[in-house]
C-alpha cells in the first residue's frame, strides 16, 4: 500500500476523529478514502461504545454528575469510540453551543446535552437548533427561564443569532439589528425549564424543558424583515434560510476541520482565508436542505481539505486523546484515567466548562508558556514509555525492517508511525543530526527500544507536532 494513501488517511483520522494507530490506518486505507469518509459520516452504522464492562469498573458512570467524572468519561469515549466522528462533532458543537458547569453546576444535565450533539450533530441544522433551544442546560445557561412576555431577557435571543447561527456580520455588513434580537427573544418567551438546574435547593433531579403558553408573547413580531406571530420554531426556520447562517456554519466547519481561521469576533470584517472553499460549503448547505453531513462530505472529499495537512494547532483534547490513541494505553478501564483526563484541563480546555459562552479561543491562542510545557511534558512522557502497547507495536514494526536502520530511516520511520508527520527542513536536519551522532540503529540490540522511544520523544517535542 502506498505511503501517500496512509498519510492521507492519517490526516483524515486526525481531523474527523482523534487519530489512529498505524494498523488502523492501514486497514482503513485498504478500504479506501471515500468509503472511510462514508463510514465516518454515518456513525450509527458502527456499534456504540461497549459500556457494560466499564460500568462495573467505574460505577459512578451510571449516574454521571461531577465535572471530573464527566471529563474522564468523555476522554475515554474520544479514545475508544468506534464512531470517531460522532465524538468529534460533539466536541465541535460543544465549542460553539457553549454551556458551562460553572453556571449550571450539574454535569449530568450537560452530559445529556452532549448526547444530543452526538445524536443530531451530523444532521439537519434546524433540528439541531431546535434541540438546543429546548435543552434545559442551555435554557438555564442563557437565562431564558427569566424571559417573560411582559419582560424579555435577551440573553438567549442574542446568543442564538450572534454565536450559534448567523454571527454578527459578514462581508463588512451586520447580519441583524438590535430590534431583531428583541423580536427573537420575544418569540422564545415561554420556553422555560421545570426542576431548576442547580443542585441546591432542589436536589439532583434532571431538569425538564417546558413550554408555557401563558408566558409566551402571542403578538406579531418582525424578524429579519418577516412579520408574523412567530414562535421559537419559526425563528429557527427563518434563521436557517439565511445566507449568513450558511456562511457562519461553513466557516466554523472550516475552522474546526480544515485550517485555523481568525477568531470568530473578527469574521464580520475579515474574509475567510479560502473563499472558494466556503462557497462550496455554502452551496451544499442550501442544496442539501441544511444537512451538516452533506457539508462534511463535500469538505472531506475536497482538495482544500486533503491539502490542509498540519494547518491547525491541536486543541488540548486532540493532544491528549490523540496521544492516548497512539499509545493504546486506555483501551480498557484502568486506574489513571481520571488523572490523564485532567491533562486536558491543565492544557487550557476544561471540557464541559468553557470559559465563556464564546467558547475557547482556538489556533495559536491555545498555546502559552504554561500550556506549552504541559503539552510537551505530557506527550514526551507518554511516547517515552516503552511498556505501552502502542509504542511496543511501533518498535516491533520498525524492528522488522531489517538488521539495522540508518539514522535517516529511524527518523522517517518514527514520523510515519506517528501518523506521517511532516517537519520543516530546519527541524528535520536537527533531529537527523541528533540521530546520526548515535549511528545506525541495530534492531537486535538492547538499546533499540530506547532509541525508538527517544526519537518519538524528539518528534513530539517539535513545534510541528503541535499541529494537526
Amino acid at each position: 500500500m502506498a505511503g501517500t494513501d496512509i498519510a492521507l488517511m492519517a490526516h483524515l483520522m486526525r481531523r474527523a476523529g482523534f487519530g489512529a494507530s498505524y494498523e488502523e490506518l492501514e486497514r482503513r486505507a485498504a478500504v479506501g478514502y471515500e468509503a472511510t469518509v462514508e463510514e465516518l459520516l454515518n456513525p450509527e452504522q458502527q456499534p456504540p461504545l461497549e459500556m457494560d464492562v466499564l460500568l462495573r469498573h467505574f460505577v459512578d458512570w451510571k449516574q454521571i454528575n461531577g465535572l471530573e467524572t464527566n471529563q474522564a468519561h468523555w476522554t475515554y469515549r474520544m479514545v475508544n469510540s468506534p464512531r470517531p466522528l460522532e465524538e468529534k462533532i460533539c466536541l465541535f458543537w460543544h465549542g460553539i453551543f457553549c454551556v458551562g458547569d460553572s453556571k449550571c453546576m450539574n454535569g449530568r444535565q450537560i452530559l445529556l446535552q452532549l448526547n444530543k450533539f452526538r445524536e443530531h450533530g451530523l444532521g439537519n441544522l434546524p433540528t439541531l437548533l431546535l434541540e438546543l433551544a429546548s435543552d434545559p442546560a442551555m435554557v438555564y445557561y442563557l437565562d431564558n427561564q427569566m424571559s417573560h412576555k411582559d419582560a424579555i431577557n435577551e440573553n438567549w435571543g442574542r446568543e442564538l443569532l450572534e454565536l450559534f447561527s448567523m454571527g454578527v456580520g459578514m462581508d463588512g455588513q451586520p447580519n441583524y439589528s438590535e430590534d431583531d434580537v428583541k423580536e427573537c427573544a420575544r418569540a422564545f418567551t415561554g420556553w422555560t425549564v421545570g426542576n431548576a438546574i442547580p443542585r441546591y435547593p432542589f436536589g439532583r433531579h434532571e431538569a425538564l424543558f417546558l413550554y408555557n403558553p401563558r408566558d409566551h408573547d402571542d403578538e406579531d413580531k418582525t424578524f429579519l424583515g418577516e412579520t408574523g406571530n412567530w414562535n421559537g420554531e419559526d425563528i429557527i426556520d427563518i434563521i436557517s434560510r439565511q445566507k449568513a447562517t450558511a456562511r457562519f456554519v461553513s466557516r466554523h466547519l472550516y475552522n474546526f476541520f480544515v485550517a485555523d481561521e481568525p477568531q470568530v469576533p473578527a469574521w464580520q470584517n475579515t474574509p475567510p482565508r479560502d473563499m472558494e472553499a466556503i462557497k462550496l460549503l455554502e452551496e451544499e448547505y442550501f442544496r442539501s436542505g441544511f444537512e451538516i453531513r452533506s457539508m462534511l462530505r463535500v469538505l472531506f472529499n475536497s482538495d482544500f481539505f486533503k491539502n490542509a495537512r498540519f494547518a491547525k494547532v491541536k486543541s488540548p483534547a486532540e493532544v491528549v486523546a490523540g496521544t492516548l490513541k497512539l499509545t493504546g494505553e486506555y483501551t480498557r478501564p484502568k486506574p489513571g484515567l481520571y488523572e490523564v483526563a485532567q491533562e486536558i484541563r491543565y492544557m487550557g480546555q476544561d471540557l464541559l466548562n468553557p470559559p465563556t459562552v464564546e467558547g475557547w479561543h482556538t489556533g495559536t491562542e491555545w498555546i502559552d508558556s504554561g500550556t506549552l510545557v504541559e503539552r510537551l511534558n505530557f506527550a514526551a512522557a507518554q511516547v517515552g514509555d516503552t511498556d505501552t502497547p502502542g509504542v511496543q507495536s511501533i518498535i516491533a514494526r520498525l524492528g522488522e525492517e531489517g538488521q539495522s536502520l540508518t539514522p535517516e530511516r529511524l527518523v522517517e520511520g518514527c514520523l510515519e508511525m506517528l501518523g506521517h508527520y511532516q517537519l520543516t527542513d530546519d527541524t528535520y536536519a536537527m533531529i537527523l543530526g541528533q540521530a546520526q551522532q548515535r549511528g545506525p540503529a541495530e534492531t537486535a540490540s538492547d538499546d533499540f527500544s530506547e532509541r525508538v522511544a527517544q526519537m518519538l520523544q524528539f518528534i513530539v517535542s517539535t513545534q510541528e507536532y503541535q499541529f494537526t
Binding site: D101, P198, H361, G363, D368, F458
Partner: protein, 377 residues
C-alpha cells in the same frame, strides 16, 4: 504610592471552596451567632479576641500574633452585588471582576500586562499549581505555571538525565526563532523559548535558598515555601499565585474538625512564609492577599455549613496597616440576604487598593470601574 525602593510584589493565596468567615473571624459575643450555630460554633472561651465583639478562630494563633504586631488587615463583609453561590462562577467573578457577564480576562493578567508591557521578564507572573487560574490569564501575557519547583521545566518527564539533557539541547535549537516559517510556528518558537528560559531561571532558585524555617506538610505550605524561594532569588517576579487544594474549604459536613485543620495549616504556613521572608530581609516589599470565593450560610446545617455570600479576606505584610476594615455584617434576621451575611464592601475596592496603592497601577480599567478603596497600605 509605595515608598519602598524594591519593586512591590503581590502574593495571592486562594482558599478554594468557600471559607466559613463566621468561624474564621468570629462574632463571639453576638447572641445571634450562638443561636444560628447550634452545632458548628466555636465556644466563646476558645476564641482569640480582637476586641469585645469579634475574635480569631482558635487555630489561627500565628495569624493573631501577626495581627497584634499590626501586620494583618482583616477585610470584613467583603463580597459583590447579587452573590452567586456556585463555586466556579463565584470564583470566576473574583478572577475576572465581572459579576454580570461571563468574561475571560483575569484581573492579575491585566495587571501583569501593565507591569511588564514589553514582556521583558518571562517570570513577571508565576503560578504554583497545575493549570493557570483565570485570574492570571490575559492574551499575550506569559505566566509560568509550576506544579513542582524541584522538577519544573521543559521535558522533565523524560526520566533519564542524559537523555533529557540531549532532548533539551535539541529543543533549544529547534525553538530558536527562525524567520520566515509562518506566524504560527514563529509564535510557538518564541513561546517555547520563553518556557525554557523561565524554567532555567526558576531552576536556580532552590539552590540559592536556605532557611531556618521548616514549613509544614501539604501543598499550600510547599507552594508558599516555593514562593519564598523564588522571591528571595530576586528573579523579578511581581505577582505570585497559589491555591489551596481544590474546594478544600467546602465544608458542608463535619466542619468543626475539617475547618480547624485547614486554618491550623494556613495560619502556620502564612506565618512561616512571613518569618522566612523576614529572615531573608525580603519582607518589606511583599503583600499577601488571602481570599475565598464566598462565605458560608449563617445557620449551620447540623454538621457543616452550606454556600453563603459575604465573607472575610486578609491582607498581610510589613507594608500593611493592620486592623479591621469595613464593618462586620449584621447577623440580625432582617439584615441577612437569603440567610447569608450581607456584603458591605465590594472586592473590587480591595483589588483597587492593591493595584493602585501597592502595585502603582491604574485600577479602573483592570477592575472594570471605580470602587471605594480601603486604607490598608
Amino acid at each position: 504610592m509605595t515608598s519602598t525602593k524594591k519593586d512591590p510584589v503581590l502574593v495571592v493565596l486562594q482558599l478554594s471552596g468557600g471559607n466559613d468567615g463566621l468561624n474564621t473571624v468570629i462574632p463571639y459575643t453576638n447572641p445571634r451567632y450562638f443561636d444560628n450555630r447550634p452545632n458548628v460554633r466555636i465556644p466563646e472561651d476558645q476564641v482569640l479576641p480582637i476586641n469585645d465583639e469579634i475574635g480569631f478562630n482558635p487555630n489561627m494563633g500565628e495569624l493573631k500574633e501577626l495581627y497584634d504586631q499590626g501586620k494583618v488587615a482583616v477585610i470584613q463583609g467583603i463580597g459583590y452585588p447579587t452573590p452567586n453561590r456556585s463555586h466556579f462562577r463565584s470564583m470566576d467573578i473574583w478572577h475576572t471582576c465581572e459579576p454580570e457577564k461571563i468574561a475571560d480576562e483575569g484581573w492579575l493578567g491585566r495587571a501583569l500586562r501593565d507591569l511588564d508591557p514589553n514582556k521583558d521578564n518571562v517570570l513577571t507572573g508565576v503560578n504554583f499549581g497545575r493549570g493557570v487560574p483565570r485570574a492570571l490569564v490575559a492574551p499575550g501575557v506569559p505566566v509560568a505555571s509550576v506544579g513542582n519547583l524541584e522538577t519544573y521545566g521543559v521535558l522533565t518527564t523524560i526520566e533519564q538525565e542524559t537523555r533529557r539533557d540531549e532532548a533539551i539541547d535539541l529543543f533549544s535549537r529547534m525553538y530558536s526563532p527562525a524567520m520566515g516559517r509562518g506566524n504560527a510556528l514563529e509564535y510557538l518558537s518564541q513561546t517555547g523559548m520563553d518556557a525554557l528560559q523561565g524554567a532555567d531561571i526558576l531552576a536556580t532558585a532552590p539552590a540559592q535558598y536556605s532557611s531556618t524555617i521548616e514549613y509544614g506538610g501539604g501543598s499550600v505550605a510547599q507552594y508558599m515555601r516555593n514562593i519564598a524561594q523564588v522571591h528571595c532569588a530576586n528573579l523579578g517576579t511581581r505577582v505570585f499565585y497559589t491555591t489551596a487544594p481544590y474546594n478544600s474549604f467546602d465544608t458542608h459536613a463535619t466542619q468543626m474538625a475539617a475547618h480547624s485543620k485547614l486554618w491550623t495549616d494556613v495560619s502556620r504556613t502564612v506565618n512561616d512564609f512571613y518569618q522566612d521572608l523576614k529572615e531573608h530581609n525580603a519582607s518589606d516589599n511583599v503583600v499577601l492577599l488571602v481570599f475565598t470565593e464566598f462565605g458560608r450560610r449563617v445557620h449551620d446545617n447540623g454538621s457543616g455549613t452550606d454556600h453563603g455570600s459575604g465573607g472575610a479576606a486578609f491582607v498581610i505584610g510589613d507594608p500593611v496597616k493592620g486592623g479591621l476594615y469595613a464593618e462586620y455584617p449584621s447577623l440580625d434576621d432582617d439584615k441577612l440576604l437569603e440567610g447569608d451575611l450581607h456584603y458591605n464592601n465590594d472586592f473590587r475596592g480591595l483589588y483597587s487598593t492593591l493595584l493602585e496603592d501597592w502595585l502603582g497601577l491604574d485600577a479602573q480599567p483592570i477592575v472594570n470601574g471605580n470602587f471605594e478603596k480601603l486604607g490598608f497600605i
